[in-house]
Subunit: 255 residues, 2 copies
């Protein structure tokens, strides 16, 4: 059995660690700068933990699940001794690992992870890439234990996917958040919107989003749009977004 | 049996007409300025049709399903003879009907409708309002034939719901559209994003959207956001939206 160390203890590290445990891949140690996060995840995984890079164990495989901004500053301080190191980020190129080991690759699960929410991991697309055929095979084996959907995706494609994911996940979720802001401000029940939210997503299983679009912006119904902008008079940022999103709908629907 | 005339033949009129037919409420006539739309819907409903307001039949109930911008200009030309008239719009106040009849109300199904897509009508919240108790009861009876979820919602609440619906439906769908633009431009398969899209919406069944948020904007990871903005160099509008949406995430998550 290969020994595995997990560098990071955030949302992705947590759900990935739990999936590894579930499929019988033991994590030996968890590293995080935050003692609380490191300890909490290590407990869940029956692993050791450390907050000091110098105390990181020797291992066969290192999984890097760090925020981009911490990525290089943490890795610079670890001696990987040419073990296989995998990063899990959408926006970091494969080659950014090459100064740390001669064996490296990418293991990018395309999903939104929160610490407390268990996800159905076997349906998550895992995008893999490596610096050699041998390492690619090793990564694929690991990925196939976790998911039925393992795909070879190069760094350029992965960058595009990550950008696309921001729109269809983070920005979509933010639209739900703004929608909830509106209902909460006016004391109406957000739950009344749930059938609409469900239908909006169900439609794009069968139609291109362009063909699924409805509402005032696509009809260019200025009457309604002006009323809505007036309703948002006290919410400057939301008002600007409403105007820009309507403009964008108009542009991309007619492109 | 009350006689019913449908004013309008767009997405909502089509799906509402089909639902009426399904539950045994016959539409006698369909009016639309477009002969194609009028005829097509009339055929589906085994109804008559007209494109001239002066040829609209006398009826007990008129259902108005017009775009806001056409609303008054069409209604001004119809003699309703004090029949019960119902509009179906999110953003129009009840009282905007009062010059056309002394019996009026609102029948607003809170859903996104496309002509070609059949919806599960019995779960759609129908927001009702009327100028008298008697008319309200009449509208409720009609609504309860169509859906299990009929709610009394006043004009102010309905206006807020309609605005909230733009965010969680039209703008969400536009985010899917932009996401598809990114994948299509870079020749990656949009379908790989489907598990992410499904999980994003499934999360808010259990968590407030604020707690469900993930990604670079909520972590304020400028590294990633700058990379994404650079990737969008040639798509000015999308780049502006990315920046503004990230700013908005940051603002509303910390509000």
């Amino acid at each position: 059995m290969k020994s595995v160390v997990l560098i990071g203890a955030g949302n992705l590290a947590t759900q990935l660690g739990l999936r590894f445990k579930e499929v019988g891949v033991a994590i030996e140690q968890v590293y995080s700068r935050s003692v609380d996060s490191a300890k909490k995840l290590a407990d869940l995984l029956s692993a050791e933990f450390t907050t000091e890079t110098r105390n990181i164990f020797s291992a066969d495989i290192y999984i890097i699940a760090l925020a981009d901004k911490a990525f290089h500053s943490v890795l610079e301080n670890i001696d990987f001794k040419n073990a296989l190191i995998l990063h899990t980020a959408g926006s970091i190129s494969l080659t950014e690992l090459k100064s740390y080991s001669s064996n490296y690759g990418v293991f990018y699960p395309l999903q939104t992870f929160s610490k407390e929410r268990k996800v159905e991991f076997e349906t998550i697309p895992i995008c893999v890439e490596a610096n050699s055929e041998e390492n690619l095979n090793e990564i694929k084996k690991l990925a196939q234990l976790c998911s039925k959907d393992v795909r070879e995706i190069n760094s350029e494609q992965r960058k595009s996917l990550h950008l696309a994911a921001i729109f269809c996940c983070n920005f979509v979720n933010h639209m739900y958040h703004l929608s909830a802001e509106v209902t909460e401000t006016h004391a109406v029940d957000f739950n009344i919107l749930r059938p609409l939210i469900k239908e909006t997503v169900a439609k794009i299983d069968l139609m291109h989003p362009k063909d699924a679009q409805t509402g005032p912006a696509v009809r260019y119904d200025e009457n309604i749009m002006d009323k809505h902008l007036a309703q948002l008079e006290d919410e400057k940022l939301m008002k600007e977004l409403y105007a820009k999103l309507s403009k964008s709908i108009n542009y991309y629907q007619n492109k």
